[in-house]
């Protein structure tokens, strides 16, 4: 059972990181606490990719980069019919790829449904 994906907050200066860094990019600290990434976000940009790499059988995948109210930005799959920059989105977690017969999970952003 998956319970979400996390950003990493420096325990010295509170700087939020995603992805995880070995050392805090602000103060150099090496101790972080996980912060669940969830809720409403806005679409910053998107693309629909038709030439997929090895390991993906779909005809295309739509990708987006979203921004959260605290400024954190995240890339993931976009499950939206007509994406447009600035639209409100929901954060969901789901399978993004099967590798070595194992399903990998990641962010899948969907239309905002309050």
């Amino acid at each position: 059972m998956n319970d979400g994906l996390y950003a990493y907050q420096c325990q010295i200066c509170d700087e939020l990181h995603y992805p995880r860094h070995f050392l805090c990019r602000h103060c150099g600290g090496d101790s972080f606490k996980p912060v669940l990434i969830s809720g409403e976000c806005k679409l910053l940009t998107w693309t629909r990719l038709y030439n997929l790499p090895e390991g993906f059988q779909q005809s295309h995948i739509t990708f987006g980069i979203v921004q959260y109210p605290d400024g954190l930005r995240v890339a993931g799959h976009l499950n939206v019919k007509n994406p447009h920059i600035g639209m409100r989105l929901n954060t969901t977690i789901g399978p993004i790829r099967i590798r070595d017969e194992r399903s990998e999970i990641g962010f899948i952003f969907t239309e905002w449904d309050k």
């Binding site: 995603y18 030439n51 990708f63």
Partner: protein
């Protein structure tokens, strides 16, 4: 005391499809460069061989190739190493050659940049290049370099008014330049009608990028003979001077960049190369920019200081970046039309500057060219090397 460094020999295979071995590919470019420099075959004048390649272990199932090349080229006991910095491997290899000569460790270094990407199918090749992306938050999603470029392009369209026609104009220009470059992969003229007109065969690759906005998959090799300026009179060619080198890195995950439309590492690398050379963007007569996706040529032309931020596409519309324009960009055809064998590209960009600064570029010659800039772009801009070359009187 630091020594000055110049380029005295160049060799370049035709980019596209290579049907022989990786070794033969490298040696073909190397022999041409050595002969261009007037170095007799089998002489012991080469102190070091540097091979620039990103994927030889995966694509050709070979390792230790630099050492093998020294042997087969009969350059023993020259030192040998391989340099890997993603698609910026080529300019990194030239940088290492520069430092080895400037420090006095070597007098003459042979740099070979090479890749055979067409040994595997396009899905495998796309996967190899995608391993440049962040292994936790980008690569697992199926994100690729074209996907990153597609998202970057959409932002530039939204913020600066770049249009699909602007992108097409860059592709048309670079294909036109490539027509007079015998080593270019494509020798085909493009038109707006062919790219964007009704019935155009130009499918979306990474919306809004179409097929002709993206570089091809290529095989190819390029070689340079680099030497100390104080040793150049031992050779037949007048050296083109390496006047400045700058390099900078940026965040690995692009989501962490403060301004998503900035290519900060390009800006810093160019500024550092200008500072070392004592030149400014206004002194540059010709530039080879890393147009793996045509939007990158536009964005890099701004970051390199040729045009204000957000106005590179307007300069393209005015024809300022074509041959005969104020600052001709990618006279070789660029990655878009000349081709993009990863490890060879940075070396190829410098090859074009050398040919131009020697005045030997034929129909694509930039008249009176005295200084050139190359931008070699690694990852999606997380490691960039800028090189300034000058013609010495």
């Amino acid at each position: 005391m630091q020594r000055e460094v110049g380029i005295i020999g160049v060799g370049h295979t035709r980019f596209g499809k290579w049907d022989r071995s990786f070794t033969d590919l490298c040696c073909t470019a190397a022999v041409e460069a050595l002969e261009d420099a007037g170095i007799r075959r089998g002489s012991s004048k080469v102190d070091q061989l540097l091979l620039s390649t990103m994927g030889v272990q995966v694509l050709n199932h070979q390792s230790g190739v630099a050492s093998a090349l020294v042997d087969t080229l009969n350059l023993r006991p020259a030192m040998a190493e391989t340099v890997e910095n993603g698609p910026a491997s080529g300019a990194s290899a030239v940088k290492f050659a520069y430092t080895e000569i400037a420090s006095g460790l070597c007098d003459v270094v042979l740099v070979i940049g090479a890749e055979m990407m067409r040994t595997v199918d396009s899905k495998r090749c796309t996967d190899l290049v995608s391993t440049l992306l962040h292994p936790e938050v980008e690569y697992p999603y199926g994100l690729t370099l074209p996907a990153m470029a597609g998202m970057f392009t959409r932002l530039c369209m939204e913020r600066y008014g770049v249009t699909e026609e602007d992108l097409a104009l860059v592709a048309i220009k670079n294909h036109r330049h490539a027509l007079s470059n015998p080593v270019a992969q494509f020798h085909s003229e493009l038109t707006i009608k062919k790219l964007l007109g009704e019935g155009a065969i130009n499918p979306l690759v990474a919306d809004p990028l179409h097929l002709y906005d993206v570089c091809p998959i290529s095989d190819g090799a390029v070689a340079l003979v680099i030497c100390a300026m104080d040793a150049a009179d031992r050779f037949t060619r007048k050296p083109v001077k390496i006047k400045g080198i700058g390099q900078a890195t940026d965040t690995h995950a692009i989501t962490e960049r403060e301004v998503p439309t900035d290519l900060l590492a390009v800006r810093l690398a160019a500024q550092r190369a200008y500072a070392m050379s004592g030149l400014t963007p206004g002194d540059i007569n010709i530039a080879e920019l890393h147009d793996a996706f045509v939007i990158l040529e536009i964005a890099e032309s701004e970051e390199a200081g040729f045009f204000p931020k957000g106005e590179g596409h307007l300069a393209v519309r005015r024809g300022e970046t074509m041959l005969g324009g104020r600052i001709p960009i990618n006279t070789s055809g660029g990655l878009k039309a000349k081709g993009h064998p990863l490890g060879a590209t940075g070396v190829s960009q410098i090859h074009e500057l050398v040919v131009q600064l020697r005045g030997e570029a034929g129909a694509r010659q930039v008249k009176g060219a005295r200084a050139g800039l190359a931008i070699n772009f690694g990852g999606f801009g997380n490691n960039v090397v800028a090189t300034v070359l000058t013609r010495e009187e």
